[in-house]
């Protein structure tokens, strides 16, 4: 038991994590490409034209994965934040701040693709639907997190402050989600409503799953790349950084 904890803390040290991340990144990029190509192939060439929506529905293959990732990344971020606040491990804070921009990107993509889908399907770029609204608020939460961290010079303080915010946010997300949902269903009346095909064709499901995997791998790869940069920025005066190959050369 004790051993396991020590092991974890070993990986949680930036010094061991930095080269490890460096080794993992290419693999994740390869997986991203693999799943991405397969997913796009199914999405564009295998999945048939939708009877109701025509070709426009093909946005689904990036819209849904982006939406999922945007929510999932916030959870992971809050997890790292809690870990950092509780155990004072340096790496956790860095992970949280490395994840935030990717999460914001996913939230933005979800909004963007949703809006581009909404125009042909519903005739409007935006409706104040529960799901849309809570995605918008999630985007604001990400932006708040990033703005807070970038406004603080001392990285240790930035990490801790960000952690408090992420935790407060994660408590609030379900509350926000359900309140928005209830708000919307209480006063119906929007002239448009979501028209979703009840049973998605098997191929579509596969395409979506593959694309979701690709997004997932992408998120891991890019946030690992970013965390490496952050480690270098933060650990400048630590001796091990000076001994790195890329620094000495």
């Amino acid at each position: 038991m004790n051993n396991r904890i020590i092991n974890w803390f070993k990986f949680a040290s930036p010094q061991t994590f930095y080269p490890l991340a460096g080794k993992m990144i290419p693999w994740f990029w390869a997986l991203t490409a693999l799943f991405g190509i397969a997913g796009l192939y199914i999405g564009f060439f295998v999945a048939p034209t939708d009877a109701q929506q025509g070709e426009g529905y093909r946005i689904i293959f990036i819209h849904v994965p982006a939406s999922w990732m945007s929510m999932f990344i916030y959870l992971v971020m809050a997890f790292w934040a809690a870990l950092g606040l509780g155990f004072n491990t340096r790496l956790s804070g860095m992970m949280a701040s490395a994840l935030a921009p990717t999460g914001a990107l996913m939230a933005f993509l979800s909004l963007w693709t949703g809006a581009l889908w909404g125009k042909p399907m519903w005739g409007t770029w935006w409706v104040w639907d529960a799901r849309l609204t809570s995605e918008l608020i999630l985007f604001f939460l990400y932006i708040g997190f990033i703005a807070l961290q970038s406004a603080i010079d001392d990285p240790r303080r930035a990490d801790k402050a960000g952690a408090v915010l992420a935790l407060v946010g994660v408590v609030n997300i379900p509350i926000i989600y359900f309140s928005v949902k209830w708000w919307n269903t209480l006063h119906q009346g929007a002239s448009v409503s979501l028209t979703r095909s009840p049973s998605m064709a098997q191929t579509m499901l596969w395409g979506m799953l593959l694309m979701a995997l690709a997004f997932w791998m992408y998120s891991i790869a890019v946030s690992l790349a970013r965390v490496r940069a952050i480690i270098l920025e933060r650990e400048r005066h630590a001796g091990w950084v000076a001994d790195l190959e890329e620094v000495r050369s």
């Binding site: 060439f45 025509g54 581009l116 790869a221 790349a225 890329e246």
Partner: protein
């Protein structure tokens, strides 16, 4: 195979703007983000090296 020709493929059944707008933004952002991450790292490396050199210089100064 859904598409008779390349132009049909690009027309996306009249929804080209929306579909390619989505995929284009997605591709663009996902291309830019890793580049930014990499740039951030190389920037950190440059600064690190500069700092190390500065330290070396000041050490030389004190020893000489």
């Amino acid at each position: 195979m859904n598409w008779g020709s390349a132009s049909e493929f690009f027309a996306m059944g009249g929804h080209a703007l929306y579909v390619w707008g989505s995929y284009g933004a997605c591709a663009l952002l996902m291309a830019v983000e890793p580049i930014l991450a990499r740039k951030r790292r190389s920037q950190a490396l440059i600064e690190l090296k500069r700092e190390l050199r500065a330290n070396q210089d000041s050490q030389d100064e004190t020893t000489s």
